[in-house]
């Protein structure tokens, strides 16, 4: 792994030019992680298809997203199908804001973000600063010490920690914010974080970060049951080897696969995640286990843990992994398992609703 000396000068020097992949990550020596290892003609064909896809998408969303809601109402199944194939990268930022409901939050709350960033102070400021350079450290945007990437990451996280003081700042949130900032402005990224954690379209996910990490515990418990039911042989092997999902899947849920998975795969997961909700995280997790099933069942404890944290490259190809994930049907069972979990452990306490937050006008209904 390449190493970089961090100096104490402010702002730091622009990192020396190193080979980057198409998303802006410093290329690792061996990896072909941008998934572009194709021949020239295949590449041109892919480009042609990509252009055709972008045209379709532009028509679907209209200028600046003006036709989106109309289209969504008329043809939700088309939208779902197209999103599952991947949102064109050049439209990703805009579409994410449309499907997550964050665009509406932004429009309803003019000036709020600025207020949070400039005038409020947060008890989490030092915690946030400590982690800034440890968030996507291999991405060119976040590498420069006190550069624009690090500054906007700090601002978004600080604003959120003020906006929701019960959540504050928790490690892992930086990866969500960082991923969003590669596709949108600070203010847009902030509202998308709000939409996710407060539940603008899907169930709120703030429980991932509240004291006790209650939603992480719930998801891990649900995931463990699903493994047992859908991949019984592997589930039994896990329990014999005393492997539980907290050893390998906490990061999957806490950062929605943005922590250590190939970026092009993380993006494809996020496309679906923002539209269909957290069940895609379960499905992708199960698909990974299913894909590697025959290897995993043979491995003893230590090798098993290693394998669960280092899936082979072919397993992480979105064009094989995602169709496999879509084929796993869990919605009904997931809901039942949630109820069972709540019966056992009580419902997750919601932190302050949007309307209870003094800095933000009510829009919780």
């Amino acid at each position: 792994m390449e190493k970089k000396r961090l100096d104490d000068y402010e702002p730091g020097p622009v990192p020396s030019p190193r080979a980057l992949d198409r998303f802006g990550f410093v290329k690792q020596d061996v990896s072909t992680s941008d998934g572009l290892g194709r021949s020239r003609s295949a590449y041109e064909y892919a480009r042609y298809r990509e252009e055709r896809r972008v045209r379709k998408w532009r028509k679907m969303i209209g200028v600046g997203g003006s036709d989106w809601k109309h289209y969504l109402r008329r043809k939700p199944h088309v939208v779902k199908r197209r999103i599952r194939k991947g949102i064109p990268d050049c439209l990703r930022g805009l579409v994410w804001q449309l499907i997550s409901g964050s665009r509406d939050l932004l429009l309803m709350n003019p000036g709020v973000y600025e207020q949070l960033v400039i005038y409020e102070t947060s008890a989490s400021e030092l915690d946030i600063i400590r982690d800034i350079s440890r968030t996507f450290p291999s991405h060119v945007f976040f590498q420069q010490r006190h550069g624009p990437g690090q500054r906007s990451l700090y601002n978004v996280l600080k604003a959120y920690s003020v906006f929701d003081r019960d959540v504050g700042y928790v490690q892992g949130m930086g990866f969500l914010a960082g991923l969003l900032l590669l596709y949108m402005s600070e203010e847009d990224a902030f509202w998308l974080l709000v939409a996710l954690l407060k539940g603008a379209v899907h169930a709120p996910m703030e429980g991932l970060y509240l004291a006790g990490l209650p939603l992480v515990q719930q998801y891990l418990s649900q995931f463990e049951c699903l493994v047992m039911e859908l991949l019984p042989k592997l589930g039994e092997h896990f329990s014999n080897e005393m492997i539980n999902p907290s050893m390998y899947a906490s990061q999957w849920f806490i950062t929605v696969f943005s922590y250590s998975f190939p970026f092009h795969l993380a993006l494809r997961i996020w496309d679906v995640f923002l539209y269909e909700g957290v069940k895609i995280v379960f499905k992708v997790g199960l698909a990974l286990l299913k894909y590697c099933h025959d290897d995993l069942v043979k491995l003893p404890f230590e090798k098993l843990i290693h394998a669960l944290k280092n899936f082979p490259e072919d397993a992480m190809n979105p064009d094989t992994l995602l169709p496999l994930a879509y084929s796993i049907k869990i919605s009904k069972r997931l809901a039942e398992l949630k109820q069972e979990y709540e019966k056992k452990n009580g419902k997750i306490r919601r932190s302050g609703e949007l309307s209870e937050n003094p800095t933000v006008p009510s829009e919780s209904n």
């Binding site: 450290p137 490690q171 080897e241 005393m242 990061q251």
Partner: protein, 217 residues
């Protein structure tokens, strides 16, 4: 996947790495297990795991080390990993006094969740940042003596004392284990671990290591 000769060991000791966020736990672990240091490391989310087998007092000991996220809120997940641990490396950053002040909270955390006779070593990391030192060696030394912990200062970056820190805690664990297994009726811990490989794997899980079962009851 067969287990090669390098997988054989007399003892398996589970050790946890704890301490405030950003004190260098993950780099201590990577320095010890892979002799690597990464200046661009990410913050740890949840728990990580690594092992290394080494000679301790003439025996081969496999250290199974769990590296935990340091932020307080993560204790909801990480404290489960204290159970069954024979040793804890409690790390602070010699340039950040608050990380040293929080050591007492970590000790309480261990008292609440770990086995009562867990061996604890206090580690002051980042001694390479000499011009930024904020915690005097004597203060930490004094505190460690008062609390009955062993103490060492390390630099994961310069690879100073990292080996020694792990060696020391593993030796200490070994001495306690071997003393206990001598005085107890079943003193075949090492032999059992060596015999059946598959059993050894199951034993490697939290709170079920054979040496632990034999000695802590």
């Amino acid at each position: 996947m067969g287990r090669g000769a390098e997988e054989e060991y007399d003892y398996l000791f589970k050790v946890v790495l704890i301490g405030d966020s950003g004190v260098g736990k993950s780099n201590l672990l990577s320095r010890f297990t892979r002799n690597e240091f990464c200046l661009e490391s990410k913050s740890t989310i949840g728990v990580e795991f690594a092992t290394r087998t080494l000679e301790v007092e003439g025996r081969s000991v496999k250290a199974q080390i769990w590296d935990t996220a340091g932020q307080e809120r993560y204790r909801a997940i990480t404290s489960a990993y204290y159970r069954g641990a024979l040793g804890a490396l409690l790390v602070y950053d010699v340039t950040k006094p608050t990380t040293f002040e929080n050591v007492s909270r970590w000790l309480k955390e261990l008292r609440d969740h770990a086995d009562a006779n867990i061996v604890i070593m206090l580690i002051g990391n980042k001694t390479d940042l000499k011009h930024l030192r904020g915690v005097a060696t004597e203060d930490a030394q004094g505190y460690a003596e008062k609390e009955g912990l062993s103490f060492i200062e390390t630099s994961a970056l310069e690879a100073t004392n990292v080996e020694k820190a792990f060696q020391t805690i593993l030796s200490e664990i070994y001495r306690i284990i071997s003393k206990k297994s001598l005085s107890s009726s079943h003193h075949s811990a090492s032999a059992t671990v060596k015999e059946g490989k598959t059993i050894a794997v199951t034993q490697s899980q939290p709170s079920t290591t054979n040496s632990l079962c034999c000695t802590s009851s």
